[in-house]
Symmetry: C2
């Protein structure tokens, strides 16, 4: 029996982990938050980084900056590698062990390729800032390389962007890519018509945004089509290779593919439960503790929680935040010998944006579409951003983008111009192609 | 004899290439601008990206956006590989040939390691946005890893930042890194005192900023020392290895080293002249044409131009811009059968910033230091930025940073957390180190 403060370790600085740290701040515990990144990423706006509206710095904040006022919270940059629930320790990749009295595991999810990890190189997903910058690089590079080819050889390369999965991320990406092609890049290219690019959204189910009611799904589909997106429903992607995507039985030539379907919870779950569900989530008790380990909580995308009607709590930010509050409260309750609280999901509704001035919102019986829904979407997302500075910057960027129809963050950085496997489709015939004016000029001069 | 428009090819979208394209816009020529990047980078502010004040997108603009109004200018993303002055063609890496009537070569310079390219991994230079993001990553990671080590093992790792070369870039970097350590990060860390970090500025010559007059150099040195930078003069770096820098005969343990000395002009010069000078520059005629090839101009950092008094025109943005105007004018003059103009450098003066509220300015007999010089520096750099949007954003960021003393762009992205060779210094004993509270806690629990 010592009077030493209890030690709480939180794995993950996403919505859940950060909320838990805030709730435990200034409480009579020592908190250590571990994250692989030095920054919290506002994932709902990642697609805007991927489509050159926002810069990475505008949707991310250093975790230790967010928590600098919480003097009982320390932040460790590192990757939790293993959890030992019997000895109450966590080990880090690259060495290091941290012991805990309580553990909150909020390590989130990554995209999952259903056992086909080899598809990732050709069709990256969108979960981190690095993912977003890579997708932006590929999308912008596609137009640049098509222009280069047209100038050097006179040949026009058909551009085909394929987004796989019509959940919120897929819908937002497809709408935004169509906006880039049809509006933002218009006028900047000489040899190609960027507006001629195809944007396909492929979905295995029978409608887009299937967590919304059917009429809103139908509305969103129509909005997408007005923006120039080809929506393909009831169609499963069965294979992906460099430069092509197999939809059903048909191979589709693809300039850039993006994977926006399938998530898999952090593999850390396997240290806490014998079994996980198809998405890698583990079942938790009503107080969000792991069965058999009342001092270990699992929250957010890693937790499988059934509501009374049997539906699963969705893997969204509000659910993670609500779970974090219950986990933090239960630790505080333990310290005061009070009984634990049970988690109950309060569904505030959902919203998805489709493109400039288009969105859908559903909350209980309330349904909104079009411009008003879009304003509501803007408002909620700006208010949810962490930090006054980010809010100010993002609002200014959006206002600028809305007025000028420009994309401000059109940088191709990193990687090489030599196209990666994913973009081979554009590349192979560049060297051997027939010359247009440029080469012709060269040859004329050679002859004289 | 045809009436076909003359074709001008410009290699490089830096200050010189861009100015040449603008001057030739709406003239009776077809212009093709080739650059390896899709964006123009405002190099004078790169050090602010490297030190987390500005985001990459704030000092860069897509080249084709800048030139979208110039309908006779097309932009090709690609790397010029070879120039064939006899056949008037340029070939691109990855295939493709472009012929020209006139060529303006403005491919700039990279940092040079005086034959020790193997030093680059341990001491990167600062010429591109990627360089800046890499240096930012290393600087921020150094503090993160020291904090991690202190939390996991209780051991405090001395942090030592070494900037090599006390020209404007080196001085700016050293001052800004000291500002990060002493001001911006204060309060965000629990286990280390960021203010205890050493920042060394090593210079082979006998003063900093040696293009300024001696009294201003002395003033700048004093400013640096007030910011907490150790200035080491008359000291040559003779070797660099992971985690250490050899200054004279002494090896110095180094957490992060940055190379800010020595530039070498683009290797494209070798296709145009038998000989280049020590910095890879080639001598040009008074009209900036390559001797023997009156239709090929070389401008900017690649051109070696002597003034009447024998001094060399410096490799700075104003010189590149002035050369671009002369080269463009001479092409226009040729078309009108007018005689060519000769280049004469107009030196507007120079300025360098040292840190918050500190700078030096020298223009002819005018000398300024301190806050006024700093305001002048801010004004000139904001006005020189390309694009209203960038100006607006940068001013806002600076205002924010000045008020809050925060660094807004504190993102560690890309690379791995597993420290690269350059940072091995911090890493090796992490795994085997003695435990502090964390491990102790783990062991206590194991025993019970």
């Amino acid at each position: 029996m010592t009077n030493q403060k209890k030690k709480v370790v939180i794995i993950g600085g996403g919505f859940g982990g950060l909320e838990a740290a805030k709730r435990l701040a200034r409480k009579d515990v020592d908190v250590t938050l571990i994250d692989r990144k030095n920054h919290h990423t506002f994932q709902p706006l990642l697609y805007q980084v991927a489509t050159a509206v926002l810069s990475p710095g505008e949707i991310a904040s250093p975790i230790r900056r967010i928590l600098d006022w919480a003097k009982n919270v320390e932040v460790v940059l590192g990757e939790a590698e293993k959890i030992f629930p019997e000895s109450n320790t966590v080990t880090l990749k690259n060495g290091g062990t941290i012991g805990f009295d309580y553990l909150i595991v909020a390590a989130g999810a990554r995209h999952s390729y259903f056992g086909h990890d080899e598809w990732e190189a050709s069709a990256p997903g969108l979960k981190t800032l690095e993912d977003a910058v890579e997708i932006r690089r590929r999308v912008l590079l596609a137009f640049e390389l098509a222009e280069r080819k047209a100038i050097l050889t006179g040949e026009t390369e058909p551009l085909n962007f394929v987004v796989i999965g019509a959940g919120p991320t897929g819908v937002e990406l497809a709408g935004a890519i169509a906006g880039i092609a049809r509006i933002a890049l218009k006028g900047d290219f000489r040899a190609i018509d960027t507006g001629a690019a195809r944007v396909m959204l492929i979905e295995g189910g029978n409608r887009v945004l299937n967590t919304f009611s059917e009429d809103l799904s139908a509305h969103a589909k129509q909005d997408l089509e007005e923006l120039g997106v080809e929506v393909v429903l009831n169609c499963f992607v069965t294979d992906i290779a460099p430069g092509k995507v197999k939809a059903g039985d048909e191979w589709i030539d693809t300039t850039v593919a993006v994977w926006a379907t399938g998530v898999s919870a952090s593999p850390l779950g396997k240290f806490l439960a014998e079994e996980t569900d198809d998405s890698g989530r583990i079942s938790v008790e009503k107080d969000l503790a792991v069965p058999g380990h009342p001092n270990i909580f699992v929250i957010g995308d890693m937790a499988r929680v059934e509501e009374k009607d049997g539906t699963l709590v969705p893997g969204v930010a509000p659910a993670a935040i609500q779970m974090a509050r219950v986990a933090a409260m239960n630790i505080a309750n333990d310290l005061k010998d009070k009984p634990r609280a049970e988690f109950k999901y309060y569904d505030k509704g959902s919203m998805a944006t489709i493109g400039r001035s288009k969105a859908i919102v559903e909350s209980g019986k309330l349904k909104m579409t079009g411009f008003i829904a879009w304003l509501a979407w803007l408002l909620v997302h700006v208010l949810s951003l962490i930090g006054f500075r980010n809010r100010l910057w993002v609002v200014t960027e959006w206002f600028w983008a809305y007025l000028t129809r420009e994309r401000s963050a059109r940088l191709i950085t990193g990687g090489s111009l030599e196209l990666d496997s994913a973009m081979k489709f554009l590349q192979p015939d560049l060297g051997k192609a027939a010359p247009r004016k440029a080469d012709k000029k060269g040859k004329e001069i050679l002859k004289t």
